[in-house]
């Protein structure tokens, strides 16, 4: 039971960390433009994630009530 909860909690953080690692390595180890492009794209995803989260947070503040992704009732 707690295993599934763990998966849910860590799915996104792990995916983002892997993306960042790939992005950092791609430009360092790869030669040429395609690798640089891969690097920038991979590293842009965490930044985009933050931007989307901030935008959603602003919507929550304005509407003043919880969205679908809110805390689960105990």
């Amino acid at each position: 039971m707690s295993g599934r909860a763990d998966l849910r909690v860590w799915r996104w953080p792990v995916a983002l960390s892997v993306l960042i690692a790939v992005g950092l390595a791609a430009a360092l180890l790869g030669e040429g433009g395609a690798w640089w492009g891969l690097s920038w794209a991979a590293l842009a995803v965490p930044l985009a994630t933050i931007a989307v989260a901030l935008a959603r947070s602003r919507r929550r503040a304005r509407s003043g009530r919880s969205n679908a992704g809110a805390a689960r009732p105990s």
């Binding site: 909860a5 960042i20 430009a27 360092l28 640089w36 590293l43 933050i50 992704g69």
Partner: protein
């Protein structure tokens, strides 16, 4: 995880963060312009622009530039020649003598030559060069708080605390996020709850980057001891037979020395020449620093020694593993290896890190010992353990 474990990890996270936050804020803020230090230095340089030449134009013979340098400052000793490969520039550094340079590193003349035409782009006096560049001030603050080696080691310690804060933060993140969807920021609730969620979001998303930049920062702070270790081990052994020998009156051709180095290591690119007489080099060898051609190997430098008495190859020096680790840590820390978009990304992630630090401070300055969600999180942990541990009262 038990409640006791959570509290312990939370305590670790709180205290490692608190001790390092003030210094880390300084490091992050000074780090921001330092990402663009090359561009800033070039913009403030005041050197003449390069000549526009057709592609494939060969570079001027280094001997010609050395002769011109000696003619400009007669009686002075040539110390180094730097051969830039991403720009058509050669920088020759002279001083009254090696001893004078060791006594005062600013007492040098530095001449920038156009590598294609041999024209002088900029020549500076010791007096002129006394002005310190803004990037040097920022770097001093960032790296050692103007305190040289003790400052470097202290900030290295701070970097270790930063890594500990990140690791403990990851451990504490799990229980806090059990009942929240990823990236939820409950801004409709109190300011504290909003900032707690923001702190968690901004911390967990770029976690890998903060870990890499933090860890490579620690390694970089060790560069003085690591090079020192190399000096007193391999280098001392290598230079021992040469110690005390005189610097030759007639030096062999520098350009020929570079050509010999190129022939000895064709996969490498010569990047600078240290002339004979350096206290850290050899009295009678040219020490030619070379680097690899690929993105990664261009950060790995290997010195080649060429005898200045007869122009013959003397040795291709292998660098030890711990210096290779240091060299690889540099691009991963500076973010300067993937073009300007990577530098922009580096700055944005730096700003996110500043927000994590700032929000952490804000949360700490709140009245309560523990954050508002703590009691719910602890109750959660008690519920989730099937084997029924002692259930304590949730703290207020």
């Amino acid at each position: 995880m038990t409640r006791a474990a959570l509290r312990k990890w939370f305590w670790v996270h709180k205290w490692t963060s608190l001790v390092c936050t003030a210094f880390l804020l300084l490091i992050c803020v000074t780090g921001l312009p330092l990402v663009f230090s090359d561009e800033i230095n070039d913009a403030l340089d005041g050197a003449l622009p390069y000549a526009a030449v057709p592609a494939g134009t060969p570079r001027v013979d280094l001997d010609h530039l050395i002769t011109a340098s000696r003619a400009r400052y007669p009686g002075e000793t040539v110390l180094f020649a730097a051969l830039l490969d991403d720009e058509p520039k050669v920088i020759v550094t002279l001083a009254p003598s090696w001893a004078a340079f060791v006594a005062d590193r600013h007492a040098v003349h530095r001449i920038q030559f156009d590598a294609h035409t041999g024209a002088v782009l900029k020549a500076s006096d010791p007096n002129q060069d006394a002005g310190v560049r803004v990037t040097d001030v920022l770097l001093s603050l960032h790296r050692d708080l103007f305190a040289a080696l003790p400052g470097e080691l202290f900030l290295g310690l701070i970097g270790l605390l930063f890594v500990a804060a990140i690791v403990s933060g990851v451990v504490v993140y799990g229980p806090f996020m059990r009942r929240l969807d990823f990236a939820t920021v409950r801004s409709e609730r109190s300011s504290r709850v909003k900032w707690l969620d923001l702190h968690n979001l901004l911390g967990i998303v770029p976690l890998m980057w903060m870990l890499v930049v933090g860890a490579t920062g620690v390694v970089n702070e060790l560069s003085t001891p690591l090079f020192g270790l190399w000096q007193i081990t391999d280098v001392k052994a290598m230079l021992a037979p040469m110690a005390g020998k005189p610097v030759p009156q007639q030096l062999s051709s520098p350009q020929a020395a570079i050509d010999v180095a190129r022939a000895a290591a064709p996969e490498m690119v010569p990047t600078s020449v240290v002339f004979p007489g350096s206290p850290f080099g050899s009295p009678y060898h040219y020490l030619i620093w070379t680097k690899g051609r690929s993105a990664l190997t261009s950060r790995l430098f290997s010195p080649i020694l060429v005898d200045a008495r007869d122009g013959k190859l003397a040795a291709v020096v292998m660098m030890p593993w711990y210096l290779r680790v240091l060299e690889v840590s540099r691009p991963l820390h500076f973010g300067d290896y993937g073009g300007w978009p990577l530098k922009i990304i580096w700055c944005l992630l730096d700003i996110v890190t500043i927000a994590v630090l700032g929000s952490g401070l804000y949360l700490w300055f709140g009245r309560r010992r523990l954050p508002p969600e703590f009691s719910e999180v602890e109750a959660d942990l008690a519920d989730s353990r099937v084997s029924g541990p002692l259930v304590e009262r949730a703290a207020e």
